[in-house]
Every structure is written in C-alpha cells, then in structure tokens.
C-alpha cells in the first residue's frame, strides 16, 4: 500500500485507467497514511468514511474518461464544500456547514475526484506560516521544527507528506507559492479571473485566486486544466478559451526570452538564494532559452501597497461575521455589544490586526492618503510588468527570500512575517500568473523554490518553462517520514 502514496497524480490516473489500481485501493492508501500523520496537523476536518463509500461506488461503475477518475484529494479549508464543515481556520466559522459548493471544487468532483477532507490554513488565509490557524499550527514534513509556510500550509504539508496526491490552495499574496517553496513542491497562482472565486471564503477580492499545488509540473497542469473555468457566478471571472494545459505541455522553450529583474536582489538576501537564482538562470540557458536583465523599478513598493489594499478589502469582506447569520456568537448586553464581543472572541490576533489596519485606511480623512495612494502605486507596479513584457516572455525570480523558518520565530514581529512575501506579492497586485518550482536545497537540506511569472492568461507558457526547468533541476525532496510512528 505504501507505494501508492508515492505515486504522482499522473501515475495514479494512468494506473486507475489501466485498471492496475482501483479507486478504493488508492483512497484507502491515502486515508491510511493520513491517519498515521496526525502529528502534522494538516487536516482540520476529514471525510474518510464517505470517501471510501464514494471510491467503492466509483469502482462499481468506473467512468475512465474523466480527468481525475476516482482520485482522492483533500482541499484547503477555505473552499465551501456542501454539507462538509468549512472553517477558514477560524473560530468564528468553526461550526459553519455550507449549503453550497465552490465552483473550483465542483469542477474537481465533476471530473471524478473524491474529497478526503479539509486542510488546515492560516485564519482567513492571513498569514505566512500557518501559525494563525485556530486549529493549531501545521508541521513541515521536511523537519518537525519548521513552519510549512502559509497560508496554504496544510495543503503544502499534505502534498509534500503524501497525504493527498495533489491539492488546491488559494493565493492572495503568495499563499500557494511560498508554502510550495517551503515544502519542496510545485504551486501555481493563476491569472486573476482564471479560476472562479465563487464559494471561496473571501479575504481580499481583487487579489484572491485558487490554484493547484502538486508534486510535479505535469500534475499541476492537469489540475489547473480542471479548475480553471468561466463562471457567471463570479463577476470577475473572465470568459476566454482555456488551454488543455497538460496535453499542450512541452519542454521545448527554445528561443523564449526570460527576464531577470534586478530589483529582486534585496538587501540581506542569503547567499544561497542568490546562488539558487544563478543556477536557475543557467538552467534556463541550458534549455535553449535566453535571459535578459530587466527592471521592475517599483518592486520595493509592492509590500506596503499590499498591506493597504489587502487589509482594506479584508475589513469590508469580514464585516459579514457578525454572529447573526452564521458562525460563532458571543453573548452581549445588546446588539452592538454582541457584535463587538463576537468579533473580539471569534477572530484571532492577526485577523483583528488586519481588520483594524483596513478600517483605519478606509476611515474618514485617511482614504486618500492610504487607499487611493495604494491604488495608484498598484497601477505603477502593473505598468512595470507591462513594460517588461514588451521585451520578455516570462520573468524568473526566487520564490521567497529564505528557506522555511522555525515555528515561533516570527510570530511576535508582524512586519518580519510580511517580508516573507516580498517576491510573491507583486504578482497578485498585477493580477499575473506565477508558479513556484522546487529548485534546490539550502545548507540544512531545506527546499528552496524559484518563481516564474507570466503574462496574464499565459499559464501554458510558464508551465512549459517550469516543465523544462524541472527536468534539468531533477529535484528530490528529502522526506524521512519522521512523524510516522
């Protein structure tokens, strides 16, 4: 059985289609491993019993034309799943059972996949270490003392630890790419408007995107093909012809022009990150593509812009948690007192901090100085990319300024935590696609990732570049199964 969980999604799909494995075999194997992996704390809610029932049902009448035939998988607990508790990692939603399904998960089940459970994440996806979850922090399968990154920390841990063959996360400022980088897996943040936001617990609506997290680029392409769709239920969903990403995947990137932005060489960046980047540039050249030095002059303004825009949107999105319509309610002396106590007891410290920032920047007298200013700088950041893409097809950067840090290391200093997303945030602000692929290890043997940023709706191109580089890098994740007794 243990061999099954080591297989990639592509291999599992093939083995089920060839009838070498049944959906029940595969589902049982991942459940077995998930049950032995409680110490990672990757799951918030499991749905193992009904997963086995669904797998058996699939096997009785298998539809092998589907893209994910009988494949079990767990998803971030930010996606509403009908009749399955959806918490967003928060106390305020800890008893919320959606009566509807998110569009991206619906797309996945329509292609034959089976839900294993809901994965841990930072509360309302606000965090870079999975330490803000009401349900406790998640451990990194690489090392017991390391954070898995965040906010999709449970998702990253589940894929790297082989509890789920593949998963979906969400990325508002790096929440797919940073944890993918910290755990040695692949994570794609699609173009804004590519995947529907319907049924995803909202954090910052102009930045949020769902995307796949996988063991390799091909698996990532396959899942992206399933989740990306036009959806009238999301007013910012964009109607365009989507590629068959996995079928059209090619490692031929000869002649492509890849930009290397000098502003991503930040002060205090460890030498191993710079070395990794240089290695990446060499891989690009080995693949027959060309690298070109470019400038994205407003890069250093991206994080301050993000920490106005994202909290502002969050403060208004999270106004809905008032203890009336759903979720946790605290006792209060009157209506206002009830609201205030519910939100004080129901939200964790980081979420409260961001709501406060957002409320402040939107409050009377400060709007122009902060929110309007941030929207203008956001435009400049987007213009930087537009300008760069006149000369190059894609951009290569490190995914993060360091490898995974220790649990507790940054919890008392919000700004140092925020700095983690320095290379990922500009991509969300500009609405572009970005993929993180594992590209090497630091001196401790912890994984490091490289990010490839594409033009809007050019996912196929960055997947191809990632695919070509993956072959050259030949990365092997160092997982010892330390948590399995």
């Amino acid at each position: 059985m243990s061999d099954i969980t080591k297989q990639s999604l592509t291999e599992l799909v093939e083995n089920i289609k060839n009838k070498k494995l049944s959906s029940t075999d595969v589902t049982k194997a991942f459940i077995d491993r998930s049950e032995k992996s409680e110490e990672l704390n990757a799951y918030i809610t499991n749905d193992f019993t009904s997963a086995i029932d669904k797998a058996k049902k699939f096997d009785q009448k298998p539809n092998l034309d589907l893209k994910l035939p009988g494949i079990p998988l767990a998803v971030k607990d930010l996606f509403c799943t009908k009749n399955i508790k959806t918490t967003a990692g928060s106390k305020i939603l800890n008893n919320f059972v959606p009566t509807y399904e998110s569009t991206v998960t619906e797309n996945i089940w329509n292609e034959g996949a089976i839900l294993l459970g809901k994965l841990n994440c930072d509360e309302f996806a606000m965090g870079s270490s999975n330490e803000t979850s009401f349900f406790g922090n998640v451990q990194n399968p690489i090392d017991k003392n390391l954070v898995p990154g965040g906010s999709s920390g449970g998702s990253a841990s589940a894929v790297a630890g082989q509890l789920s063959p593949i998963t979906i996360g969400t990325d508002t400022g790096g929440s797919i790419r940073q944890p993918a980088s910290f755990t040695g897996i692949v994570g794609l943040k699609p173009t804004y408007g590519s995947c529907s936001r319907y049924g995803i617990v909202a954090f910052a609506s102009s930045l949020d995107q769902a995307g796949p997290m996988a063991q390799n680029v091909k698996d990532c392409a396959l899942l992206h093909e399933v989740i990306s769709s036009y959806d009238p239920k999301d007013s910012t969903s964009i109607d365009f012809k989507r590629n068959h990403f996995s079928k059209e995947l090619t490692n031929n990137i000869k002649g492509k022009k890849i930009g290397i932005p000098k502003e991503y060489r930040v002060d205090g960046m460890p030498k191993e990150i710079e070395d990794l980047w240089q290695k990446g540039i060499q891989y690009i050249k080995d693949c027959g593509a060309e690298t070109i030095d470019i400038s994205l002059p407003n890069t250093s303004y991206a994080l301050p812009t993000y920490y106005i825009v994202a909290p502002a949107e969050a403060s208004s999105n999270l106004a809905r948690y008032d203890g009336v319509k759903y979720g946790f309610r605290a006792k209060g002396e009157n209506l206002i007192d009830m609201y205030e106590k519910t939100r004080s007891e129901g939200f964790g410290a980081e979420v409260q901090r961001r709501i406060m920032i957002g409320t402040y920047v939107l409050s009377s007298g400060y709007y122009d100085a902060y929110y309007l200013k941030a929207q203008k700088v956001r435009k400049l950041i987007k213009n930087d990319f537009d300008e760069a893409y006149k000369k190059v097809d894609a951009i290569l950067t490190p995914s993060t300024p360091s490898s995974a840090f220790k649990i507790g290391e940054k919890t008392n200093d919000p700004v140092s935590m925020y700095l983690n997303d320095i290379f990922t945030v500009p991509v969300n602000l500009a609405g572009l696609p970005g993929i993180s692929i594992p590209a090497g290890h630091d001196l401790n043997g912890y994984p490091l990732g490289l990010q490839i940023i594409g033009k809007a709706f050019d996912e196929q191109n960055i997947l191809n570049i990632a695919y070509a580089m993956e072959e050259k890098i030949n990365f092997k994740n160092k997982i010892t199964d330390w948590w399995i007794k």
């Binding site: 408007g193 301050p304 946790f328 609201y339 901090r353 200013k373 400049l380 919000p414 700004v415 609405g431």
Partner: protein, 95 residues
C-alpha cells in the same frame, strides 16, 4: 506618524471589535510598526497616476434578472446561531 490609544479605540469601534486596555496597547505598537513600513509609499509622486480600481480589464457582464434559487429559507437559516425557523434572532433592539 503615531497611532495613539484613542485612535485604536476609535477604529475598534468602527470595526465592531471590542478591545481591552492591554490589547489596545499591543495593537497600537503593531499598527505603528506596520504604518512606519507603509509610509514608504510617500517617497513616490503619484499625482498624475490613475488609480487601479480593477485588475481584470473587462466590463462587467449583464445578466437577466431572474430568480434562480427558490424556497431556500431553510438553507439560509441553517447556520444561524439563533433563529425561530423564519427569522434570524438578535438581542432586543427596540425598548
């Protein structure tokens, strides 16, 4: 720039989050260090820059105004902490 306790109390009122004295002090410290970091934006001149209000450069689609979900009261009420089957119930607001 400095955010004092009085401002924290004011924002917490607007945000409908009750904070005690200790928490307010912690928040003031955190917000000040975050805003010190945000102030960096003042280095940039943006007078002639159009604000980016929507990242997806498309016009919103219109749809016909039809009722698609009917008789879902039960589903809507289902997750409420307190209800009487027909309505959400809140603490008394009219004396």
């Amino acid at each position: 720039m400095s955010i004092d306790l009085k401002t924290i109390k004011h924002i917490s009122k607007l945000a409908r989050i009750s904070v005690d004295e200790q928490r307010a002090k912690k928040l003031a410290g955190d917000l000040n260090s975050i805003f010190d970091f945000i102030e960096k934006l003042n280095e940039l001149k943006t007078d002639n820059v159009e604000p980016l209000t929507s990242i997806a450069e498309t016009t919103l689609k219109l749809r016909s105004d039809e009722v698609k979900s009917k008789n879902i009261r039960e589903q809507i009420i289902k997750n409420s902490p307190q209800d009487n089957e027909d309505y959400f119930v809140v603490p008394k607001v009219i004396e």
